[in-house]
Amino acid sequence: MSTTEDHAPTPSENPAIEIEGLNKWYGSFHVLRDINLDVAERERIVICGPSGSGKSTLIRCINRLEEHQEGRIIVDGTRLTNDLKNIDAVRREVGMVFQSFNLFPHLTVLENCTLAPIWVRKTPKAEAEAIAMEYLERVKIPEQALKFPGQLSGGQQQRVAIARSLCMKPKIMLFDEPTSALDPEMIKEVLDVMVDLAQTGMTMLVVTHEMGFASQVADRVIFMDEGQIVEQNNPDEFFNNPQSERTKLFLSQILSH
């Protein structure tokens, strides 16, 4: 099991993600308000907060699935603007795992994993397949490679989705509630894979309410409410000594069930 100390990031490093003065509106609804967030390389951040607080919107801004109206987002040195070249460059380096897996149902597990390396990174097919098998082994389902996603359980599908993202060799991984669509007995198999991944030193932003995962893996826990960052701290302090009233309320609700 990992400890949070083994490679605590140093703030002086070049940040993997820089977010400054980020504001976003859906129509007239102010969904993200003045977000400032620097993520260091190899840092693992857990984002939590009540439903509708803007967690998904925030991480979806990082790979430009959502556009923002104000502020600056720099990912791996590339600033996100309307420039499609920059967007493509960022998306090549940032993997994303969704709550609903979003595997491609018409392709086999292996084809799901090799598609982007072949078509985006121009990796030769044989090499892409070798890489895919390596990651499928890491998420412990190499034997499912030739099946279709519809033939797998939810937990297996989510592990394939993680492997699929890793096949692009991303520098940063975003997770949007990766376990909330899963039955309890499958949550663990997915979390185990994520803990493993954290130990390899991947930069990770994880939206989750799995507080066990947060205290085990996170370098920093961020609490969002009403589109803003209300509190952030290391997991120890965050869980045992929350400062804001909203955080206390949220934690009491979440830990009560």
Binding site: L115, W119, V120
Partner: protein, 368 residues
């Protein structure tokens, strides 16, 4: 209240066969034909109708039928009169195509199968080369049918019979699918010009009967096509039928596109696929798959609409049949004539329908 109990290895229940009445032929009959009294009554009524219809049809079409003769007076029995087939089958197939050149039509027809095979079937030997052949096929077929390159030129107004239905139908099918896809994507485009053009095209073409489009084609088409091309009747029909089917196709495919969850687009984007790759590799394969019934429906409709060529003076198989029915030598044989016409259409349309069902099964990746 319950008695606690547990089983030991010895008294665990063993597997036993399902009751005889639920499996095998009897089981099938029971569940499918005689489940409940309504079902049983329907089965009996259906059997009775079949009992009335089938023997009398077979008697008419085969047993009592007259096969040879020079005109309708040769047919004296109660059965069908097939004597005309021998004289007229060539017109049914080729229209007014010169009879010493019909071998060219036959070759074009035979070559159609290797041209279609690599697209319709899996694991066709040498399918990479066959695909190149498919691409060349329209040119080869056009040369064969129209002539040139040493072959005697046959004017397209000589085209007729079922060969005309097949030519127009196939050209329409092959063209309307890609055009329909482009229109469906265009209708969802973010660029207003492309979106408006697609919407106007689809709604304008869909809102007018095909027969009207054919009537006005000699006014509309010269605007878009070189004049000598636009006045060729067969090209006119192909263009109009294609435009008509494309508008329907676009709506069928749009339905398929809308059924694809947003998460599929997002996953494709997040992996760095650009618009055209995301469409080609992720979205369209799924959207087309769920649209197969609608697509084939449109194909079948298109194929039957090829009979409308009659309004611009071409004689397809139905036109030839109409002419024949009113010919004094063979007067009164309309049943026989139209049964034959129907069989031609049915065999093509039914094949398309069966093929689409097989294709759907093959592409079904959701079954466990």
């Amino acid at each position: 209240m319950y008695e606690p109990f547990h089983r030991t290895t010895d008294d665990m229940l063993r597997e036993r066969p399902a009751p005889a009445a639920t499996v095998g032929v009897i089981g099938w009959l029971r569940t499918n034909l005689f489940a409940g009294w309504i079902n049983t009554a329907l089965t009996l009524v259906t059997l009775y109708i079949l009992w009335l219809a089938i023997p009398s049809f077979i008697g008419w079409a085969f047993i009592d039928a007259q096969l040879a003769g020079n005109d309708r007076f040769a047919c004296t029995g109660d059965g069908a009169c097939w004597a005309w087939l021998d004289q007229r089958i060539n017109q049914f197939l080729y229209g007014f195509y010169p009879s010493e050149e019909t071998w060219r039509v036959n070759i074009a027809f035979v070559l159609l199968f290797p041209a279609l095979a690599p697209w319709l079937m899996e694991n066709v030997p040498g399918d990479r080369y066959l695909r190149w052949f498919s691409v060349a096929y329209p040119v080869i077929a056009t040369i064969l049918l129209v002539g040139g390159f040493g072959l005697e030129v046959v004017q397209t107004d000589k085209f007729g019979g079922f060969m005309l239905n097949l030519t127009v139908g196939l050209a329409g099918i092959v063209l309307s699918l890609p055009i329909g896809i482009v229109l469906a994507l265009g209708r969802q485009s973010r660029l207003p010009l492309i979106r408006w053009f697609s919407i106007i095209f689809i709604e304008a073409v869909r809102g007018v009967p095909l027969i009207t489009l054919l009537f006005v084609s000699n006014i509309i088409l010269p605007i878009f096509l070189p004049p000598d091309m636009a006045l060729d009747s067969v090209i006119r029909v192909i263009v109009m039928v294609t435009a008509f089917a494309s508008a329907y196709m676009a709506e069928v495919i749009r339905g398929g596109l809308q059924a694809i969850p947003k998460g599929q687009y997002e996953a494709a984007q997040a992996m760095g696929l650009n618009y055209s790759k995301a469409m080609r590799l992720i979205i369209l394969p799924q959207a087309l798959k769920i649209s197969i019934p609608g697509i084939v429906n449109t194909f079948i409709g298109l194929f039957k609409d090829t009979t409308l060529v009659i309004v611009i003076g071409l004689f397809d198989i139905l036109g030839i049949a109409n002419a024949m029915v009113s010919n004094p030598d063979w007067l009164g044989l309309s049943t026989e004539t139209y049964v034959v016409v129907a069989l031609f259409f049915f065999s093509v349309c039914f094949s398309m329908s069966r093929y689409s069902i097989r294709l759907e099964r093959r592409l079904d990746t959701d079954k466990r």
